[in-house]
């Protein structure tokens, strides 16, 4: 099982001839991903690491069935690439590109919603169904030692912290089913609410770890969703542990400064860490204050839920 992608997913890489695109292609193939085609407008010939390159998605689709696409094009042309993918009907779009203007994302997200296409990102590090397949730049180079197959789903707003979180789990003997980097922009594709529903239906996943952050409202949305299910007598069945970063930014009153993530800026009084932690706890999420203790905490939570079951 696993979520979003597995050993049968066929991938397209948009921007395959760029430096990052070539690197991602190589790393994805090494991880066992079926990269069937690449697209770079105007450079539609030849191949990258044995993967054929086309001028357009339509051209690629004449020869290949494509289940997911990875966006690795420069920010200025990202909107064009994403719109092309949506209109081609590729069901899953994973956007790695950073610094895409928010109005371009607003357009793409609205179009994707209309066409029932799933978007993960932008500013995503990728998706990794460990041991099966991956897309994006997640688990590249040395950082692949952090990941190991297992039963924990990870959803992370930070790319780097998806790796560190996997490493912490590994150190207590836990592996991962799927690791998803959602990115942390103010407008983004699927996040905690959608992804925990995928994990709910995934038999392989026994528990979920979230790396959350100040800014935005995805944590608040998750809390509201979980509370609603509890009230309806249908509580979410798997343990969820979260780490919410941003204590420093809040205590030092740096909320208006971007400390690395665009979405970590707090607009108005929404998105404060205190509020997120409070709401998540009320909704039944276990919030851990020290990141490296997350491994033990999720381990205990899973064995407790096994006893209850």
């Amino acid at each position: 099982m696993a979520i979003l992608i597995n050993e049968n997913t066929t991938f397209l890489i948009q921007g395959i001839t760029g430096k990052q695109g070539q690197l991602a292609c190589q790393e994805m193939l090494e991880a066992g991903s079926k990269v069937v085609a690449g697209v770079t407008p105007g450079k539609g010939e030849g191949e990258v690491a044995g993967v054929p390159v086309y001028n357009s998605i339509a051209e690629a689709q004449q020869k290949h069935e494509i289940k997911a696409t990875v966006i690795l094009v420069p920010a200025k042309v990202a909107k064009e690439a994403i719109v092309e993918a949506i209109k081609a009907g590729i069901p899953l779009i994973n956007i790695i590109t950073e610094n895409i203007p928010v109005h371009d994302m607003a357009y793409c997200l609205a179009l994707a919603k209309q066409c029932k296409i799933r978007i993960i990102g932008a500013t995503s590090i990728g998706i990794y169904s460990v041991g099966k397949s991956k897309c994006g730049t997640i688990a590249s180079g040395k950082s692949k030692i952090a990941f190991t197959p297992g039963n924990i789903g990870i959803i992370s707003r930070s790319g780097g912290m998806s790796c560190e979180t996997a490493l912490i789990l590994k150190q207590v003997g836990l592996g991962q089913s799927t690791v998803v980097g959602t990115g942390a922009d103010i407008l983004m594709g699927d996040s905690f609410v959608e992804l925990i529903q995928d994990f709910e239906n995934d038999e392989e996943t026994k528990g979920i770890v979230l790396f959350a952050e100040i800014g935005g409202t995805v944590e608040e949305d998750l809390a509201e969703y979980l509370k609603k299910r509890k009230l309806e007598g249908n509580p979410y069945p798997k343990p969820i542990v979260a780490f919410v970063s941003g204590k420093f930014a809040e205590e030092y009153n740096l909320q208006n400064v971007s400390l690395g993530h665009a979405g970590a800026i707090i607009e108005g009084d929404k998105g404060t860490r205190k509020q997120k932690v409070k709401l998540l706890k009320e909704a039944g999420v276990i919030v851990e204050e020290i990141h490296h203790k997350i491994g033990e905490v999720i381990k205990n939570a899973i064995s407790n839920s096994n006893i209850q079951a």
Binding site: A75, K76, N99, I100, P101, V102, H103, A106, Y107, L109, A110, L111, K113, Q114, S140, G141, K142, S143, I145, A146, R157, S158, G159, G160, M161, C163, E164, L167, I168, Q171, A184, I186, L187, M188, F211, G216, T217, V218, S245, G246, K247, F248, A249, E251, Y252, L254, N256, V257, L259, G260, H261, A262, G263, A264, E267, K270, E289, I290, H291, H292
Partner: protein, 385 residues
């Protein structure tokens, strides 16, 4: 990037939204004959009115006297370089209009209130979601007074055309002659779209003037485009020097450090395999402080950053300055084995108090160790007396 009032009003004027007439003054010599105008201090911080930054004056001399109180001086922790001499309007009613993105609905939202002005936080606010593909249409605004619909449609044009993250008119005033006039405006533009902004506004990163160290750090990044180092640098008043790596990781490291009682002297980060010269320069700025009790260099496992080379930049400065405080390094990635050997050798040869950890020690555990060692160092050197 946030705009000042006079800048935000330019956006409104570009689509034909009527604003109060103002004269921008940077030098009191340029103040003309005036009567019954408001001197409005141009700040990035809100609530300047409550803080005494909007003052009515009746003649040129008064305008000069009041303006000179602010120009070139500090107000609300900002250095003021402009005041606006703004026409005073007799207001019958004030409205609030705003457009921003709703992160939860993933679309723009229009906000409207019949009770605009300084107390808008407490007012009843209408919220209307906008389908980005359709844009804002009059049909979406049935609940809004007719005359204001048109202004909202124009405001939405501003929102899209100028790549705003948010735009607000507060208040939109109804005057005695039945005209609707924007008296004040706030706009935040999307920095990621800077390449296509129609108007080039000056760069700013925060509400306050940068310190010399902050300016120097940003300069490092501007001069050399290989990797990122120093782009974000914030001076703080603690005693542990910080060189963290990567966005999410940096925040988590700082969280842990303060959670354990550590006091950072700064915040900065580098990423994307910067050359050792860049890291060296950044290290110099981090260490340009008195009474440091430690240096913390940490990040997640690097994909492609050369650990040995980046650490060489830092080590060079530590050797030069013969530092005595503890240095906690948590790094892993390409060439980390060679880095480890280098650090062991340097530690012996130059008597530096280096504590190196690789991926087998959690990143946040290293932060805890940093705080412990810093406390021991301070105790030993009488910092607590």
């Amino acid at each position: 990037m946030k705009l000042k009032e006079f800048e935000a009003k330019k956006l409104l004027q570009a689509v034909g939204i009527k604003t109060s007439n103002g004269i921008l003054i940077q030098d009191i010599k340029n103040i003309p004959e005036v009567k019954n105008v408001l001197v409005k201090v141009q700040t990035l911080t809100g609530s300047r009115g409550k803080a005494g930054g909007i003052i009515e004056v009746n003649n040129k001399e008064e305008a000069q006297r009041i303006s000179s109180r602010f120009l070139g001086k500090e107000f609300l922790n900002e250095r003021i370089s402009e005041v606006l001499l703004d026409e005073k309007i007799d207001v019958k009613k004030e409205f609030y209009l705003g457009i921003m993105f709703d992160t939860s609905k993933r679309c723009p939202v229009v906000l409207f209130s019949e009770e605009g002005g300084v107390e808008v936080e407490k007012a009843q606010i209408n919220k209307i979601e906008v389908d980005y593909l359709e844009g804002l249409k009059k049909e979406n605004l049935k609940e809004i007074p007719e005359a204001i619909r048109e202004i909202l449609i124009k405001l939405y044009q501003v929102f899209v055309r100028f790549d705003c993250r948010m735009i607000e008119i507060n208040p939109l005033a109804l005057d005695d002659n039945g005209r609707l006039i924007a008296l004040d405006a706030v706009a935040v533009l999307d920095d990621d779209a800077r390449y296509r902004w129609e108007i080039n506004f000056p760069e700013r990163t925060d509400n306050r003037d940068a310190t010399a160290r902050e300016i120097a750090a940003r300069q490092i990044d501007r001069e050399d485009h290989r990797g990122v180092a120093g782009k974000t640098f914030i001076d703080l008043d603690g005693d542990i020097g910080i060189l963290t790596v990567g966005g999410g990781a940096s925040m988590t490291l700082m969280d842990t450090l303060i959670q354990c009682g550590g006091k950072p002297a700064n915040f900065t980060e580098y990423s994307g395999n910067p050359p050792k010269e860049k890291v060296e320069k950044l290290t110099r700025i981090v260490l340009d402080r008195e009474n440091l009790s430690g240096l913390f260099v940490a990040g997640v496992i690097a994909n492609f950053t050369n650990i040995k080379e980046t650490l060489q930049g830092t080590i060079k400065v530590l050797i030069e300055q013969k530092t005595l405080f503890p240095i906690v390094i948590r790094r892993a990635g390409p060439h980390d084995q060679e880095a480890k050997e280098m650090l062991e050798q340097v530690k012996k040869e130059f008597n530096l108090d280096i504590h190196y950890f690789d991926e087998t020690t959690p990143m946040t555990k290293a932060a805890e160790i940093m705080v412990e060692l810093s406390n021991q160092y301070k105790e030993k050197n009488g910092y607590f007396n």
